[in-house]
Structure formats: structure tokens, C-alpha cells
């Protein structure tokens, strides 16, 4: 009812003014969000949750997705290339650069992957999030799990898409001056994981996430006191209080690179550190080159 009413209203306004005054698509998404949210809330009240054993609530996540899609399309105007390499079935390991203080890049990659394949990429998060109120259950309920080796191999073995950020908090917590310069890729644990399970690695370059919270300084003593990996100072945080949590509307570009197969190596390849580091460097170089290319395509930070 409300859906067709808003639709008619938007159409009338377009006829009258010749312009998209009301964005029909976004409006409809918001209306359908409200409907589906009520539906899921009713299910939950009856104790009916669409859960897997990791605690991922698919139904609930897909209700929230339109909100993130709105941010994806309207706020950060994400442009995606190469998303066709993400398989429709079977496991794959998405490896991306990590930036932006708060892990919005994970959410945006997930929207891109879902819109292309209707699959949920399961991101591995820092164990630190497990101890945070609200985020601890929110991230789990939306399909994330902690970056424990056992968790990631379980997900891949059950045929899921797994998204990892080998830079970890070193990536999200880097100062603005060092943007788009990749940090060390951990100890190559993600390569070991891929070799062990024989799944392809798909490198992903994300441009735009570095500018959402330009981190000018890191107050380390305060971070240590609060048990946080870093305490960022941005132009708006903590100066403007909660308003400082609003990310800046930078222009985003996400590029999915060609998959790197890992099933051709002999068994036991995962225990060969030189091979692991070689593949790790290869992935890192691919992502870094992709960042440079995408930055060239984006002429200004905010308008794209």
C-alpha cells in the first residue's frame, strides 16, 4: 500500500518537475525495510531465528542490507569493477586492504558481493570486537566471526565466502598521511589457510575508505587505558562528540582482482614458509597496484 503510494508520488513529482525529486528506488527500499523489519521482529518474538551455528542471522541481515545499500549507493557512491570473479557457489577467500578507523570497508565489500551473487561474505574480525558491548553481537549476528584459524577453515570447508583483512588493526589505525600504503600482511596466515583448504584467493582493492575518518593523531595512553587498539583524533572526533562519528562522504571504488588459484600446489605447501610469503607478497602487490590504478581513476576525493 504505502509502497505503491510513495511510488505514485515519486512518479508524479518526476512528471511535474522533470527531475528525480524523490529518489524512487531508495524510498522503496526504505519502505520495504520497515515492512521486513517488522516481520523479522515478529519472528524473533516467537523465538524463530534464521541462525547458523556461528550466530549468523541471514533473515535479519538481509533486512538490514537496504540501509547499507543506501549508504553504498547514495553516500559513498561506490563504483565496483571485476565483481564477476566472485564465484556463485563454493568457497573463496577475499583479501582486502583495511582502512578507515571503523570497518565500514567490510560492510561495503559485502554489499557489492551480495548484489552481484546474492551471497554473504563472512568477514573475520579482530578478537577485540568480541569484548565490546552491542558490536560483539551485532557483528556476529550479521555474519562476522572472530579471526581464529579454526573459525576461518570451518567457514571455507562449509563452502562460504570468507573476507579477511590481513593488515588488521594496523591498517585501520594508520595515520592519514600514510593512506593507501599497505601495512604488513600479518604473517601470511591467510595464505596458509587458502593452501590448506585449496580455495582461490581473490584480492580486493578498496579506495575511499581511507578518507572517511582522516586520522590526524592517535592518543596512545588513552587507547591503552580504554583497552582499545588506538584512540583516533579526526577533524571532527572527539571535537564534535557523537557528530564526529559521522564518516565523511568520500567517493569509493572497489576492484575485485582475478582469483589466484591455490589448489595446484602439492599437499603440505601450507607448511612451506617461503611459498606462503611469496603468495602473500603477490597478493599484497596486486592489491597495492589496484589501489594506485583506482586512485588515478578518482580525480577528487569527494566528487570522484
Amino acid at each position: 500500500m504505502a509502497m505503491s503510494a510513495t511510488g505514485t508520488l515519486a512518479l508524479r513529482l518526476r512528471e511535474l518537475t522533470g527531475r528525480d525529486v524523490l529518489d524512487l528506488e531508495s524510498l522503496q527500499e526504505l519502505v520495504s525495510f520497515a515492512y521486513r523489519a517488522a516481520e523479522v521482529r515478529a519472528h524473533h518474538r516467537q523465538g524463530r531465528y534464521d541462525l547458523d551455528d556461528f550466530g549468523f542471522d541471514r533473515e535479519w541481515t538481509e533486512v538490514l542490507l537496504p540501509i547499507f545499500r543506501l549508504i553504498y549507493k547514495r553516500y559513498w557512491r561506490v563504483e565496483v569493477s571485476g565483481v564477476h570473479v566472485v564465484p556463485y557457489t563454493g568457497p573463496a577467500l577475499l583479501v582486502s586492504n583495511h582502512a578507515g578507523v571503523l570497518p565500514f570497508d567490510g560492510a561495503m565489500i559485502r554489499v557489492a558481493v551480495f548484489d552481484a551473487t546474492e551471497r554473504h561474505a563472512r568477514a573475520l574480525i579482530a578478537s577485540w570486537f568480541g569484548g565490546l558491548p552491542v558490536l560483539s553481537w551485532f557483528l556476529r549476528r550479521t555474519g562476522q566471526t572472530l579471526g581464529h584459524p579454526d573459525d576461518s577453515s570451518r567457514l571455507l570447508e562449509s563452502g562460504e565466502l570468507v573476507l579477511v583483512f590481513p593488515e588488521g588493526v594496523k591498517g585501520t589505525g594508520k595515520p592519514f598521511g600514510e593512506r593507501y600504503r599497505l601495512r604488513r600482511f600479518g604473517r601470511g596466515g591467510f595464505v596458509e589457510l587458502a593452501l590448506r583448504t585449496g580455495v582461490p584467493i581473490i584480492p580486493v582493492s578498496v579506495v575511499g575508505s581511507e578518507e572517511i575518518y582522516p586520522m590526524l593523531a592517535d592518543i596512545r595512553p588513552l587507547a591503552a587505558m580504554l583497552g582499545m587498539p588506538y584512540f583516533p583524533v579526526t577533524p571532527t572526533w572527539p571535537l564534535l562528540g557523537p557528530l564526529g562519528l559521522i564518516p565523511l562522504p568520500s567517493k569509493w571504488r572497489i576492484r575485485f582482482h582475478d582469483p589466484i588459484p591455490t589448489d595446484e600446489y602439492p599437499t603440505g605447501a601450507a607448511d612451506d614458509p617461503s611459498l606462503v610469503m611469496k603468495i602473500s607478497d603477490e597478493v599484497r602487490d596486486t592489491i597495492q597496484a589496484g589501489l594506485v590504478d583506482e586512485l588515478m581513476l578518482r580525480r577528487t576525493i569527494f566528487r570522484g
Binding site: G130, G131, P133, S136, H148, D150
Partner: protein, 384 residues
């Protein structure tokens, strides 16, 4: 194992031992069931000989030898220290296990099989835990409460024992939290509250096992040889918020995420919930174990998943509300017992004692413990 099994069960005054003994009685291949506890059994037992002895005494060894026990099932571990002081819990869990295993490991011990009931609490409950604990994993953080520390010690004793006696079949069963109509656990008490206190900003994943399944697993481990350590939990998970919705209760987010145990302690003063500290951490971070070993190596599929266990519990509670309190039954049983003892001649009781002593041929142990060895004991507990 040859026919004519001779089984010794510890902790028969509690849910686990009592119900296991009752189930084993139905198996003709189990020739002798001896239960050791300081108190009477929790259920009505027909042919189990109950020895009132304390595991703290090394008399257990004498009992094993003279009764020629081949299977020992240790269910005396106290997970829910309700109305029991911390010292007694430690004595029962650690020192009791130590003495029992020392007796079983003696050179002339007839024991060929040991089944130990422990808890998945041994994995702890932390923010950075893996999503699934399998039997080979162990937690990174040190034990945060006395119970978990005790559990570590118990498991160390069991490991030690299995190394020292490689010819003995050792089965260690780590049970998730049990829920069911009979057994009174911290979770049944929590779920019976009109509003359920939760930790602010946390919604843990929980796993439950139905009490019937728990006893079936113990029975299976006693009758068949299944060496190794196994997690026992119903399939799947429930979120605490989901459980609260299923129960139709209110989610009362009052416990702060720093110092939840302290807050629970304070809450306990207001409302005696007796919720032990190791479970408060569970309310914050949850715990899920991998049960594939139970299915594949142990060869058992539980009758109810975690969600079904909870659903059963909800149904049970709703039915219980309309049917009135279930305690009447116990009173009736007590009355019957009393009448039989009073009027049905005292020679019935003496006969029972005589039979027990004769079958056990353990005059010495009965004398030394100074405790009556009686069969056909009736429950004197509050539960039927």
C-alpha cells in the same frame, strides 16, 4: 567386555548418578551396581547397592577390590554449587576425583574402564574464544574462578590416569549445560525468573543438552567402550535473547559488561538465584562446542537439539503451571516408604541389608565405613 559387568557409580545422590543407576538397572548384562555417596540416591533404585561412604576416604580402593568392580563411572563432579560451600565443592571435585583415580590406578585394581563426567566449562568463556571448541583445544586465558580451576585439575588427574593405565578404557564426557524437567540447574532457575537478567550489550550463543540425552550418553559410555574425550551438547545453538523470547520472558539487561559477576553477586542478595560465577561469564560471552566427535567416534545422535531442548522445557513449564506442583508425588513416595518400614515388618529392611552385605561380600568395607549398606532405598530428596 565380558558379560556380568560390575559397575560402581559415584554421586548417586545427585541427578546424574541416580538416573544413570536407574537406567543401568534395566540392563541384565550389568550384574552389579554399587553406588557410593554420602547421601541417599536421588531416585528410587531397585537393585543398586548404595554405600554411604565418602570419596575422600581411600576406602574406595578396598571397595573396588572386594566387590571386583570393572567399571567406574564418576559423576560426582559438582557443577552447580547450590547450597554447597566452596570448600566442599573443591573437596568433592578435586580430592574426591584424586582419591577415586588413585584407587582405580592401584596395581591390584580390577577396574578396566573409567567414565568421567566433566563440563564444557573447562573451555572457559572469553571474548576472543573460537566459535567452536573441539576436544583437542584448550583455552588461552587462565581459570578465572575456583570451579574452572578445579575442573582443570580434575582433567589433569584423568589424563594422568589414562597415561599410567593404558589398558583401562577412559571416557571423558564434557557436558554442556543441562536442561530438563527433573534436574534443577542454574539455567532452570534462571529461566524460571519472570524477567531474565542479561549483560548489557551482549547476546551470547548458548548450547544445551537435554537431561535425558545426558544420561543416555553416560549409559552408552558405561555399556560400550568409547575411549577418548567427547563434548556432549545438543545440535545447533540458541542466542540468549532467543531463549528469552521462546520462554516468553522479559530481557532485563541489568548486568554491566565490566564486573558482571560482582553485579550478579549483588543481585543474589536481593533474589537468591545461586548463579555460579563461571556461568555469569557464559551469560556474557557464551560457549559453543563441536560435537562431531560425539556423532562420528562415539556414535551417538542426541534426541534433541539445543533449540528443541529449550522448546521442550518451555512446554514442560507451561504444562506444569496448569497441572500444579509436581512435588506431591515425592510426599506420597515418602509416606509409602514410611508405612512399609513401620508396619510391613522390620524384617523387610533387615533382609535388604543382609542381601546387600551378602552380594557385596564386602563385610570389611561396610564395617569400616560404619555406614549402612542398603538396597531398595527410597528417595528422601525433594524430587521424584
Amino acid at each position: 567386555m565380558p558379560a556380568g559387568r560390575r559397575v560402581l557409580i559415584t554421586g548417586v545422590s545427585r541427578f546424574w548418578g541416580g538416573h544413570l543407576a536407574a537406567r543401568l538397572e534395566a540392563h541384565p548384562e550389568v550384574e552389579e551396581i554399587v553406588a557410593v555417596d554420602t547421601r541417599g540416591p536421588s531416585v528410587e533404585l531397585r537393585r543398586t547397592d548404595v554405600v554411604r561412604a565418602d570419596l575422600r576416604h581411600s576406602l574406595v580402593g578396598k571397595l573396588l577390590r572386594s566387590l571386583n568392580i570393572d567399571t567406574v563411572v564418576h559423576t560426582a563432579l559438582i557443577v552447580d554449587p547450590q547450597r554447597t560451600s566452596g570448600r566442599v565443592v573443591h573437596e568433592t571435585n578435586v580430592i574426591g576425583t584424586m582419591n577415586l583415580l588413585a584407587a582405580c590406578a592401584a596395581a591390584d585394581s580390577p577396574v578396566r574402564k573409567l567414565v568421567v563426567k566433566t563440563s564444557t566449562a573447562v573451555y572457559g568463556s572469553e571474548a576472543d574464544d573460537p566459535s567452536f571448541w573441539s576436544e583437542g583445544m584448550s583455552r588461552k586465558a587462565p581459570a578465572r574462578d575456583g570451579f574452572t580451576r578445579d575442573l582443570d585439575e580434575v582433567e589433569a588427574y584423568v589424563r594422568d590416569f589414562s597415561l599410567r593405565k593404558p589398558d583401562v578404557v577412559v571416557t571423558e564426557l564434557r557436558f554442556a549445560n543441562v536442561l530438563g524437567p527433573v534436574h534443577d540447574t542454574p539455567f532452570t532457575r534462571l529461566f524460571d525468573l519472570p524477567a531474565i537478567p542479561t549483560v548489557i550489550g551482549f547476546d551470547p550463543r548458548l548450547q544445551l543438552v537435554h537431561e535425558e540425552d545426558a544420561v543416555r550418553v553416560l549409559e552408552h559410555a558405561t555399556l560400550d567402550d568409547r575411549p577418548g574425550t567427547f563434548n556432549v551438547a545438543g545440535d545447533g545453538i540458541v542466542l540468549l535473547s532467543q531463549a528469552i523470547n521462546m520462554l516468553g520472558k522479559r530481557n532485563l539487561a541489568v548486568l554491566p559488561f565490566i564486573g558482571a559477576s560482582t553485579a550478579m553477586f549483588a543481585l543474589n542478595r536481593v533474589y537468591p538465584l545461586n548463579f555460579p560465577p563461571h556461568l555469569v561469564r557464559l551469560l556474557q560471552y557464551g560457549r559453543v562446542v563441536d560435537t562431531s566427535a560425539l556423532k562420528d567416534r562415539f556414535g551417538m545422535t542426541l534426541s534433541r537439539s539445543t533449540a528443541e531442548t529449550l522448546r521442550d522445557h518451555v512446554r514442560e513449564r507451561k504444562a506444569g503451571d496448569s497441572a500444579g506442583p509436581r512435588k506431591e508425588y515425592t510426599h506420597e513416595a515418602d509416606l509409602e516408604d514410611y508405612l512399609r518400614r513401620k508396619s510391613g515388618s522390620s524384617n523387610g529392611a533387615t533382609h535388604a541389608v543382609a542381601r546387600a552385605v551378602a552380594t557385596s561380600s564386602a563385610r570389611s568395607s561396610a564395617n569400616v565405613t560404619g555406614a549402612p549398606v542398603r538396597s531398595r532405598r527410597r528417595s528422601n530428596g525433594s524430587r521424584a
